[in-house]
C-alpha cells in the first residue's frame, strides 16, 4: 500500500504533530518534544522485524491463510435504538448529538 511511513525511516517532530492533528489530539510543544523521540524509538524497534524477514518472506496482511470468509445475506436483530443510544453523551431526536463539525474558520 502506498501509505508509506515518512521517508528516511526516522519519525520527525513534524510527523508527530501532523498525525496528532489528524487524530484530533491537541499536543503542546513540550509534549511533542517528549513524545516524538519515544515514538521514533518504538518504530525503530518494530522495524527490526524487517531485518529478519528476507526476500523469501512475502509481506503479510493476515496471519492465517484464509480467504472468502462470508456470511449469507440474512437479517438478524441488532440493538434497539435505546440500547444503541445508552452510552451517547448527548441524545437529541433519537440521534447521537455531536459537537460542531466544522471550525469557525471553515
Amino acid at each position: 500500500m502506498p501509505a508509506d511511513p515518512p521517508s528516511g525511516g526516522a519519525l520527525t517532530r513534524e510527523d508527530v504533530a501532523h498525525l496528532a492533528g489528524l487524530a484530533r489530539i491537541d499536543l503542546t510543544a513540550a509534549e511533542l518534544d517528549h513524545l516524538a523521540p519515544q515514538l521514533a524509538v518504538i518504530l525503530e524497534s518494530v522495524a527490526k522485524v524487517a531485518e529478519v524477514a528476507h526476500g523469501d518472506v512475502p509481506a503479510t496482511s493476515h496471519p492465517l491463510p484464509l480467504s472468502n470468509v462470508f456470511r449469507s445475506d440474512d437479517v438478524r436483530p441488532g440493538l434497539t435504538a435505546e440500547e444503541a443510544l445508552a452510552n451517547a453523551p448527548e441524545v437529541e431526536q433519537q440521534r447521537f448529538s455531536v459537537p460542531r463539525i466544522l471550525g469557525a474558520d471553515e
Binding site: A23, L64, G78, L79, Q94, F96, V98, I101
Partner: protein, 499 residues
C-alpha cells in the same frame, strides 16, 4: 455563497477542451448490511438498525456479506471489467462523526473489478467510457446539522447522527478521464449516469433511486487548451443528486473554470458542493490529502479470492446487452422503431418493461409513461424514474381501466392522487369517488335524456349513421361528469336506437 463569474458555454468551448471523470456510488439492495446482519430498510426510525459492528463498538468483528460481493462482481462483469484474482479491504482513517469507527472500511489499491468499459449513446453518437475501477465499501451515517441556515453544516451549532445507513453496502464505480466529448460533455455525463442506472436496474442489484440517495454522483471536470494539451487542474463536485443536475453541474463547472482561466487565474484543486436550488457550485470542506487517510489492510476481514467457477456462474446471470435487449422487447411488444426510440429516449425502457411485467398491455404501459407521466415529470423537472409512481401502480391503474371501473380520464385523477401520496390506486378511486357509473338504470336514464335533447342526432343514428352517436355519447358523458364507460354508453345508445 455568491455565484462565481462565468464564461458563456460557447466561449468556454471555443477556448478549452473539457475532460470529465465520474464517480458513482450505488447502494446495494441487500437485505442486510455489508459487514453485519442489521437490516437496510430505507426510512426506518433513527438508530433502530444498528449493532455493535456498525456502531464500531470495541471487540465487534465484521463478516462480509456474500451477496454484496456477488453483486460487486456482477457489476464489474457488466462493465466489461477484469475481476481481481485476490483483493482486500482497507481502513480509510478519518475523524468525522458519520463513521463511528473512525475509519471507513473500503477497498483501496485492490478493487474487486478494474479496467472495464461501457458504451453510452447520445443522439446518434456512441461514446466509449473507460472504467477505472469498481470497488466495495460501506456507506456512512446520516447527519442532521442543527442551528445553521437550512440544515447546512456551515454555521451549525451541533449535528445529530443516525447510523442506520452506516455499513450499508456501497459500490463505487470510477471512470478513467473521459475525453473527446467536446461540447457534448455535460450531456455525455448525464447519459452515462442514466445508462449506469438502467444497467444497475437490469442487474437487480440496487433500487438506484437518486432522490433517496441510493445512487449518488460526484462529477470531476477540468479544462485543457486543446485535444493534445496536458490535463488541467480538476475539481470534484459532490452532492449531484439527480440526472438533470449531473448535466447542469458539469456545464456550470466548465463555464466557471473557463472564466477563471481566461482571467489569467488558476483552478484550485478542490471538492465543490452542488446547490440544486441555485444551480451553482461552491468550495466544499478542505479535503484531507489521500495519504492522510493512512490506508492499511483491514486485519479483521479475510482477503477475497473469487474462484473462476463462481465468477463464470455470476457471468451467466448477467442480463443481455442493451442492444439485444431492445430488439427482444421490441419484438415482444410489437412496437415500431419510432415507438421504441421514444421509449428509450424517455428513459422509460425498464419502467415500461416492469409495467408490462406487472400485467399491463404494452400499448397501455407505453401510453401512460410517455404521455401523462412524462408530462408530470417534465413539469417537476425530474426523470420518470424519480416520480413517486412506480410500474406496479401504473399496472394497477390500467387494470382498473381494463375492468371498466374507471376510464382514461378518471385515470388522470388517480395519477394526481398517486403523485400526492394518497395511497394505492384502489384507495384513491374510493376516496376520490372516481368509479365510473356502471349502474345500468342511471346510465339508461341519462341515455334517454340525451336522445330526447338531441333529436336530430338520434334520427341520424336510427337511420343507420352510427357515427352520429358521438354527440349523444358526449352528452351522456358530460352528464355523468366523465364517470362512465364511453364504450358501454355507446352500446346502450345503439341498442336503444337500433332500427
Amino acid at each position: 455563497m455568491t455565484a462565481a463569474t462565468l464564461l458563456s458555454y460557447d466561449d468556454a468551448l471555443a477556448r478549452f477542451d473539457p475532460v470529465l471523470g465520474l464517480e458513482v456510488h450505488v447502494e446495494l439492495n441487500t437485505a442486510s448490511k455489508m459487514f453485519c446482519a442489521c437490516p437496510t430498510t430505507f426510512g426506518a426510525a433513527p438508530n433502530s438498525q444498528v449493532c455493535p459492528v456498525c456502531l464500531g463498538l470495541p471487540g465487534a468483528l465484521p463478516v462480509l456479506n456474500e451477496r454484496a460481493v456477488a453483486a460487486a462482481i456482477r457489476i464489474g462483469l457488466a462493465l466489461n471489467c477484469s475481476i481481481a484474482a485476490e483483493c482486500r479491504f482497507a481502513r480509510k482513517n478519518y475523524f468525522y462523526p458519520d463513521m463511528p469507527k473512525n475509519f471507513q472500511t473500503s477497498q483501496y489499491d485492490e478493487p474487486i473489478a478494474y479496467d472495464g468499459w461501457t458504451e453510452v449513446a447520445v443522439d446518434e453518437a456512441a461514446y466509449r467510457i473507460e472504467i477505472e475501477r469498481v470497488h466495495m465499501e460501506e456507506d456512512t451515517g446520516k447527519s442532521l446539522h442543527v442551528g445553521g441556515a437550512t440544515g447546512r453544516i456551515h454555521g451549525a451549532s451541533h449535528s445529530l447522527v443516525d447510523y442506520n445507513r452506516a455499513g450499508i453496502p456501497l459500490i463505487e464505480i470510477v471512470t478513467k478521464p473521459i475525453i473527446g466529448t467536446g461540447a457534448a460533455a455535460p450531456v455525455v455525463a448525464r447519459a452515462y449516469v442514466t445508462h449506469l442506472r438502467e444497467l444497475l436496474l437490469s442487474l437487480g442489484v440496487s433500487d438506484v433511486r437518486m432522490e433517496q440517495g441510493s445512487l449518488r454522483c460526484d462529477a470531476n471536470a477540468s479544462l485543457r487548451l486543446g485535444q493534445d494539451a496536458p490535463f488541467g487542474t480538476r475539481t470534484e463536485t459532490k452532492n449531484v443528486n439527480s440526472l438533470r443536475s449531473v448535466e447542469r453541474a458539469v456545464r456550470y463547472e466548465i463555464c466557471r473554470q473557463a472564466a477563471v482561466l481566461t482571467d489569467g487565474g488558476t483552478v484550485t484543486q478542490e471538492t465543490r458542493h452542488w446547490h440544486e436550488d441555485t444551480g451553482i457550485t461552491t468550495p466544499g470542506r478542505s479535503k484531507e490529502q489521500a495519504e492522510d487517510y493512512r490506508y492499511f489492510p483491514e486485519p479483521d476481514l479475510a482477503p477475497i479470492a473469487p474462484d473462476v467457477a463462481w465468477v463464470e456462474q455470476l457471468r451467466a446471470t448477467l442480463p443481455e446487452g442493451p442492444g439485444r435487449r431492445r430488439s427482444r422487447l421490441q419484438a415482444a411488444w410489437g412496437f415500431s422503431d419510432l415507438d421504441m426510440r421514444d421509449v428509450v429516449g424517455a428513459g422509460a425502457l425498464a419502467l415500461v418493461e416492469q409495467t408490462i411485467g406487472a400485467g399491463a398491455a404494452p400499448a397501455a404501459a407505453k401510453k401512460w409513461w410517455l404521455t401523462e407521466l412524462a408530462r408530470r415529470a417534465n413539469e417537476q423537472g425530474v426523470e420518470l424514474a424519480e416520480l413517486p409512481v412506480g410500474p406496479e401502480q401504473v399496472a394497477q391503474v390500467q387494470a382498473l381501466i381494463d375492468t371498466g371501473r374507471i376510464n382514461d380520464k378518471l385515470a388522470r385523477s388517480v395519477f394526481d392522487g398517486l403523485l400526492a401520496g394518497e395511497g394505492t390506486p384502489e384507495e384513491i378511486v374510493a376516496a376520490r369517488g372516481l368509479e365510473v357509473v356502471s349502474d345500468e338504470t342511471a346510465l339508461g336514464a341519462a341515455v334517454d335524456r340525451a336522445i330526447e335533447a338531441n333529436p336530430g342526432a338520434a334520427d341520424k343514428v336510427r337511420a343507420g349513421k352510427a357515427a352520429a352517436a358521438g354527440a349523444l355519447i358526449g352528452a351522456v358523458m358530460a352528464e355523468m361528469r366523465g364517470q362512465a364507460d364511453a364504450g358501454r354508453v355507446r352500446d346502450l345508445i345503439l341498442a336503444k336506437l337500433s332500427p
